[in-house]
């Protein structure tokens, strides 16, 4: 697959294009030159990614070639069964979920799903769920609890969809209900931000026992553009907003909101998805083992205390 480059990766793009050109020439004696350019490209990529800013991280998190929920599901799980519908209104394609096996262990999985091409993007509503999506997730959560199946959630959404129908059908309540139910669901829940963690629409499948984040994913209370247009009255200040909002995995880990940062290949997950899947598989197995070793009451008490610890306050 041909990599699409982000604006700030232009230096790498030029070098790698040159490498491709030379390869196409297929002349003897240029192997050294190719090698030299490859090393140079790699160094340039390293230079860029070693000091990636928050706004640049947002671009990587939104990269059109980044692995989406279904890519993880296909790579990590077997016997994948997609379960559809909220049994009340519709099947929201912006959130998908179902049953599967993870290393033989039956599990419930769910995640936001973005589309790759225009048609699928529209079908998936750009990964922005409506209430029926959250209610489908709720149904799957309850299914997981009834049959004692651990839950894996994959977070990757710009946010819950802001639309008339979504409001009329109770977007707020649908999100709130999931938060409440997940806080006390009697099975292990492992949440992973794989791309964009957009506010309440992300959190609605993001309450659990473990909060993992891919290195170049972001998680924010409001999009940097939204924040900029409210606080600076200028959406063009999004880069500043991204920086001050503290939305990167490392920053959130330092605030105690993220348990583990899953290191991505140099240049982002899309450059080597297999490496990402291998790491995630290994880390999922470890976290699941730890959680399965706890009895339900310990699991739920620990989860509740975790939630109660969220926040930084002073004392009068």
């Amino acid at each position: 697959m041909k990599i699409s480059y982000l604006d700030f990766e232009q230096g790498v793009a030029e070098l790698e294009a040159k490498v491709e050109e030379l390869r196409a020439l297929d002349q003897p004696g240029i192997a050294d030159e190719i090698k030299r350019l490859e090393v140079k490209a790699r160094k340039e990529l390293q230079r860029i990614y070693s000091k990636l800013g928050a706004w640049q991280t947002v671009q990587v998190a939104r990269h059109p070639q980044r692995p989406y929920t279904l890519d993880y599901v296909q790579a990590l799980f077997s016997e994948v069964q997609i379960l559809a519908g909220d049994r009340a209104f519709a099947d929201d394609q912006a959130i998908i979920g179902g049953l599967a096996r993870f290393n033989d262990q039956p599990i419930v999985w769910m995640g936001h799903q973005k589309g790759r091409d225009t048609k699928e993007k529209i079908q998936r509503n750009f990964g922005m769920p409506r209430p029926e999506g959250y209610r489908k997730a709720l149904r799957l959560l309850r299914l997981a609890e009834r049959f004692q199946l651990p839950v894996f959630t994959f977070i990757d959404t710009p946010g819950a969809y802001p639309g008339i129908g979504a409001e009329e059908r109770g977007q707020s309540e649908a999100i709130a209900r999931n938060l409440a139910v997940m806080s006390d669901l009697a099975v292990p829940i492992i949440c992973t931000v794989i791309g964009e963690g957009g506010s309440g629409g992300a959190l609605a499948i993001g309450v659990g026992d473990r909060m993992l984040m891919l290195e170049y994913s972001v998680y924010s209370v409001i999009s940097p553009e939204g924040c900029a247009s409210i606080l600076w009255k200028d959406a063009g200040m999004a880069a500043e907003a991204a920086e001050t909002l503290g939305i990167t995995a490392r920053r959130l880990q330092s605030l105690g909101l993220v348990d583990e940062v899953l290191v991505e290949p140099m240049g982002g997950a899309h450059r080597d998805p297999e490496a990402v899947f291998t790491l995630v598989r290994e880390r999922f197995a470890q976290h699941l083992d730890e959680l399965k070793a706890m009895d339900t009451s310990k699991l739920l008490t620990t989860r509740y205390e975790r939630l109660m610890h969220y926040g930084v306050v002073g004392a009068a």
């Binding site: 819950a160 969809y161 802001p162 639309g163 008339i164 979504a166 409001e167 009329e168 059908r169 109770g170 977007q171 707020s172 309540e173 999100i175 709130a176 209900r177 938060l179 409440a180 139910v181 806080s183 006390d184 506010s199 309440g200 959190l203 609605a204 993001g206 309450v207 998680y219 924010s220 209370v221 409001i222 939204g226 924040c227 409210i230 606080l231 600076w232 500043e240 907003a241 001050t244 909002l245 503290g246 939305i247 959130l252 605030l255 909101l257 509740y304 939630l307 109660m308 969220y310 926040g311 930084v312 306050v313 002073g314 004392a315 009068a316």
Partner: protein
């Protein structure tokens, strides 16, 4: 009492106003004595407005009130004990937009006399114990950050220990951006606290007042066993402007107002502020299996 008696209190008769300044054309009335209803333009005498809990006696418009007024109007006069006030805000992200978060906090504190956007009290409602929480919209738009989350969680935990109901009055624009993801997590925290109450069989009545939006609407505010809204309150997840920009069409008349939510099955009742004590008292009496006359 006639209208004329009401508008001429003894104070005014005894001591006339200092001479009005010529530049101030119509606003010569002493500040705070009179006010005009923003909806029907009726000129109202302050004490009359207060007697009506800041609801226009002419058209029923519900003015926004402070968190303390809210709890004052709701709880029995005695006893009242404010709780969780030891939680005060800090600036964990050193957040700065055009102004520093620290400065915004200080300004809001000076302006309102509150430390943050929620006040919680233990008290009685018609003689029965209750924990009541109220958002202070006057404090940074009632936005929910770490302190609001901590105070609300304490309110729920206090209700759990006291084995009494919880009532919360929401008035908030949503999460407090200046605390970043910490504020988003308050949605999870407050929802978990409500879930504990539900598991313990204790009632939670959520009152949605103007406005209840975003992260507050999508967490504790819509998780009440009973949801009550004040008339014409703006209630929703996404703000009307965001929706308009996204879908590029005009929104229906009355969109995201209490009446619209009632029609769509999102809330139980719309209750006039002057009836809230009675209605909530009756509901809580029944949900707690208490006798009709406390």
């Amino acid at each position: 009492m006639s209208w004329f008696d009401r508008v001429l209190p003894p104070k005014i008769k005894k001591k006339p106003d200092p001479q009005p300044q010529a530049t101030e054309n119509k606003r010569t009335v002493p500040e705070g004595l009179w006010s005009k209803c923003p909806t029907c333009q009726t000129v109202l005498y302050r004490t009359e407005l207060e007697e009506n809990l800041f609801v226009c006696p002419n058209c029923g418009h519900h003015q926004r009130i402070t968190a303390r007024q809210r709890l004052d109007f709701f709880l029995d006069a005695e006893p009242r004990l404010e709780i969780a006030k030891e939680y005060v805000p800090v600036d964990p992200l050193r957040f700065k937009d055009q102004k520093r978060y620290k400065e915004r906090l200080q300004e809001a504190q000076t302006k309102t006399g509150e430390k943050d956007a929620m006040v919680v009290m233990r008290g009685l409602l018609h003689g029965r114990p209750v924990v009541a929480a109220a958002f202070a919209f006057e404090f940074m738009g009632g936005s929910m950050g770490s302190v609001v989350g901590a105070r609300f969680a304490r309110a729920a935990e206090t209700a759990l220990v006291d084995r009494c109901p919880l009532v919360c009055f929401s008035a908030s624009g949503g999460a407090r951006m200046q605390e970043g993801l910490l504020s988003l997590m308050q949605m999870a925290k407050t929802s978990a606290a409500v879930e504990r109450l539900a598991k313990a069989g204790l009632p939670f009545v959520s009152v949605l007042t103007d406005p209840t939006m975003g992260g507050v609407s999508a967490s504790l505010a819509t998780l009440g066993d009973v949801l009550i809204a004040e008339p014409k309150a703006l209630i929703g997840f996404a703000g009307p402007r965001v929706i308009e920009q996204t879908i590029r069409e005009k929104l229906p008349v009355g969109f995201q107002r209490s009446e619209y939510l009632l029609e769509h099955g999102a809330i139980d009742q719309i209750v006039d502020r002057r009836q809230l004590r009675t209605v909530i008292g009756e509901i809580l009496g029944m949900l707690t299996q208490s006798s009709s006359k406390p």
